[in-house]
Subunit: 575 residues, 2 copies
């Protein structure tokens, strides 16, 4: 090695040792008679003391990569903020390995460089310790995941990424085939079918940290390629899988973040909507929604035929100006709930200009249901669609909590949202809420032939602080039930064969009961690190146009490359 | 769980327990008054004893997936070949979870099913214990790799797979971009540039088990997508990297195969060619080639101006018929060395009809150099091209060894082939023997400006039993040297910018000395398992046309899907 120590390890006890270090110049302080250089590597920073009497100290500049030899000595003024702060290295010899131009931005944890600038010189951006830390924690987290799943006898098995395109879900990335010109592979959105087939193969317990791809319009929390901790197991019931998820996520948070997660609550989909107005409830604060649908019969015209939900925000009455109410209405309008009613609690009762239109018995009942103290604010939302009214208030609940500092990033409240409906009724018939292989809960299996809209599915989401960490389900293994689901979804034999042909054939060969889940790695890391930007937890991310500014991918390719794939560019049609 | 035990764990000590098992029916033996069922899962086989007086035993057939409850009892006739052979389960209740049609081939370790049939029903093929074993050993091997590299403080960092196409090496798989119609991503042939940039970023020690892609014509030992244990480290010299490779490969063989590898020999490229006639020497047997080029001056016309190499095969004189000699010549003809000379050792000397044309002094010298015993065979190969003569004999060396049983699959002899030439001289100039970022050995650096053909490179191959396991190199970090290499390779500034633009820009920002390697996972697994077929160590492999017979990938996609990518099929041009 060109070094015998890293820049992070020398301590007072090493004083007197002759050492060789390598790293990058983080800072030069040339005091004329003395010159100090902070030498940085990924392990830390060590101060070099260079005597200008022997060396031309003006040769060194920021981000030069150098090798330096010298003797460790105690500093006259130790730096308590630095693990190596007790010592410095008095340099007897050094060598510039490679020089550096001035970097397009300063290498420091905090930067005001534009993101595309940072992405263009990502190898410089990644010199910032905060990003290196994120990549290291990611490694620790994924190592913990593998360790935990291996301890439960899961086997990591790699599945292919050049697969058949399926018309489900998001848009596939396509890969033209050279051996079959005019045909295409797809990059997988998840290893779903392969992991299920591994169960049919009898592999029993599978996992994979799998690269997945979705050609969707990008958002701040999406990347075109992302990783998923993908798990599947045979002969299990829902609680068995939830147990694995809870153990796995808790282990990762403990090992990679030194965070003890509390036990995971189980909340039904209906309760999540009722109490939190969302299928991703943030449990760090209470402020549960209340049902006041009895107000539909209170004589108030606008509420007739509506579901009415209420949110009580403690102590917010005073601040609730007209402008604030309009702001609330703008948010609820996004959920197509145009009208809200704001009430304030004064002198032991709820007051609102519109209450004069309500029957007194209804107001008395409202008092009972809402409770509250003087100075509280209540917001009522009414809509013919129950879920819509609840969802609008759910969004307000989160916004008020945010303002009130109730969304503490150091508090973690995980839960499972279970008992989702299997189907949603549409104008034409039914659509599946998760993939079409999700099983009903065993007690509702008979409803497949009776009342599909009442079936609860075995699917489960893991939600942490209002964000979805993972989703999964127990799969159908009974051929009759699977075909009945296809029928409910309006798929013909031809549709089935075209979309899932090779997969559904496996139902003829001893298909086992099985279930599993997938955890989005980037989302997990963002929660673990308290980071809001997905690009901070990925080494070489794409930007919002799915491009990589550093390499300029995607890019044009020579026409010959397309020739042998049997494709041509549309723009060239007229030529 | 639908079971409380697996099919592999019950022993005599469990007798009397009530258990529930799940698995697949491997065999039914219905003896009329007694019915035995072998129930299989990935952990083993347990015998079920089903009383036909209570159950309709004709209901069960091979590959049915069932759940069975009953009491563990000692067998009257234990089966010593089975870990569970002391017991059976007397069934009190069972349930068919899913039935099975007759499978297209028998589920057993040995199969004579055609490979495309096996691949079409891969989920049945994977029920064969031998394949499940291969996938489990693969998991153990890769876990051992991660464990070892983590113990040396390497961090696993994921690099992107939607990257910029580069014209180097094999053909890229391309991925059309929707956000930039007419532009393409490429799938990476390796993470080479990204791992080097991670070193420029200062990540110090990187590894990744990385999916790589090559759109090459398939051979028995290739797959269009494959995995690579990819490693890179900063501030290292060649021996540091070799030390990591040796430790890593030895650890994997120990943990996953219980195989103790001997220390890795170091052989120069020149010695490998001289002594073994190949850059992938099989060291399990001796039979080194000898140089007898002095025979070029022996007066024998055909040898004039040639290099002459000799191979002595012990005890093979007797068997060497004219037909056998023709067979040898056919093999050497593949290396464009059309003529061989076979000599036999009889009565203490080498004899050959052609020797009458040789000067006696030369024959005396030949005696000295070859040595040998009566009954030995010597083969001489002469060619104006030294390497060609050696390579032809090298191939014969391996074939004779194979026939003589000297290529023992239980013996492992790893080595590093080092000191490769950096460039090969071509008619137009020079070409690089590895990638253009490979550094010369430090002692030869000055030859970049003097005699490029004499430069030894820092690249190293790891060779095990005649197969290449990994390759790698120390990289150039000096900008001047890198540009000189480009110049020697005949690349203009424009070529450089187009091909490596974003990468070479990093040479301006403190590029560190670094080196690394990549180990092909599939090749490693084939060596570890003694398997000749790459498809046996991959869960869902492609066939020789790069297709997956199970899912029928690649396949046609709807025209709309191509529309938004800005491409169209060439076949449709005329429409």
């Amino acid at each position: 090695m060109l070094r015998d120590h890293t820049c992070g390890e020398l301590r007072a006890a090493d004083a007197g040792k002759e050492v060789t270090l390598c790293g990058w110049v983080a800072k030069v302080r040339n005091l004329g008679s003395l010159c100090f250089v902070d030498l940085r590597d990924t392990y830390g920073i060590t101060q070099l003391n260079i005597d200008p009497a022997y060396f031309d100290a003006n040769r060194l500049h920021s981000e030069y990569c150098i090798q330096a030899k010298g003797k460790v000595q105690l500093r006259s003024a130790p730096n308590p903020d630095l693990p190596t702060g007790e010592i410095e290295v008095a340099i007897s010899e050094y060598r510039v390995l490679s020089a550096s131009k001035q970097t397009p931005f300063i290498i420091a944890d905090k930067t005001d460089a534009l993101e595309d600038t940072r992405l263009k010189w990502r190898y410089l951006d990644l010199r910032r310790p905060v990003l290196q830390h994120a990549l290291k924690v990611r490694d620790i987290a994924l190592t913990a995941a593998r360790e935990y799943l291996h301890s439960l006898n899961f086997n990591e098995i790699e599945t292919p990424t050049l697969i058949k395109s399926t018309p489900e879900g998001a848009r596939d990335y396509l890969v033209p085939s050279r051996t079959y010109p005019g045909k295409f592979y797809a990059l997988p959105q998840s290893p779903q079918l392969y992991k299920q087939l591994l169960m049919v193969a009898g592999m029993d317990k599978y996992f994979q940290i799998a690269r997945c791809y979705r050609d969707e319009d990008q958002r701040a929390d999406r990347q075109p390629e992302f990783d998923q901790i993908d798990v599947e197991m045979s002969f299990c019931e829902r609680e068995d899988v939830l147990h694995v998820i809870e153990g796995l996520v808790s282990h990762i948070f403990k090992v990679a973040g030194n965070i003890e997660l509390p036990p995971f609550e189980r909340i039904s989909y209906d309760d999540a909507i009722n109490l939190y107005g969302t299928d991703k409830p943030d449990l760090r604060f209470d402020m549960k929604l209340k049902d006041v649908s009895f107000l539909a019969q209170a004589g108030f015209k606008a509420f007739e035929g509506c579901a009415v939900k209420a949110l009580v925000v403690p102590g917010k009455a005073q601040e609730t100006t007209r402008k604030r109410m309009q702001l609330d209405e703008q948010l609820s309008a996004k959920f197509k709930v145009p009208h809200l009613m704001h009430a304030k609690r004064e002198n032991g009762q709820w007051t609102c200009a519109a209450f004069k239109f309500f029957a007194p018995e209804s107001l008395a009942q409202l008092e009972q249901v809402l409770g509250g103290s003087d100075g509280d604010l209540a917001i009522l939302a009414a809509d013919r669609d129950y879920t819509r009214a609840a969802t609008a208030l759910g969004a307000l609940r989160v916004r008020y909590a945010q303002e009130m500092g109730l969304r503490d990033p150091k508090v973690f409240r995980p839960c499972f949202v279970i008992d989702w409906p299997l189907f949603a009724k549409t104008e034409e018939g039914y659509e599946a809420l998760s993939n079409p292989f999700t099983s009903p809960v065993p007690e509702d299996m008979h409803l497949l032939w009776e009342k599909p809209e009442d079936i609860r599915s075995t699917s489960y989401d893991t939600v942490l602080n209002g964000e979805e960490l993972s989703s999964g389900a127990i799969r159908i293994y009974d051929k009759k039930a699977q075909w009945r689901v296809f029928e409910i979804l309006g798929l013909s034999e031809k549709d089935i064969a075209e979309r899932f042909g090779f997969f559904v054939e496996a139902f003829d060969y001893g298909f086992p009961p099985e279930g599993g889940f997938g955890i989005g790695v980037e989302r997990l890391m963002m929660e673990l690190l308290g980071d809001e930007n997905i690009r901070d937890v990925v080494a070489f991310p794409k930007n919002l146009t799915a491009a990589e500014p550093m390499s300029n991918a995607p890019d044009v390719v020579p026409a010959e490359s397309l020739d042998c794939l049997g494709i041509r560019l549309k723009a060239k049609e007229g030529v």
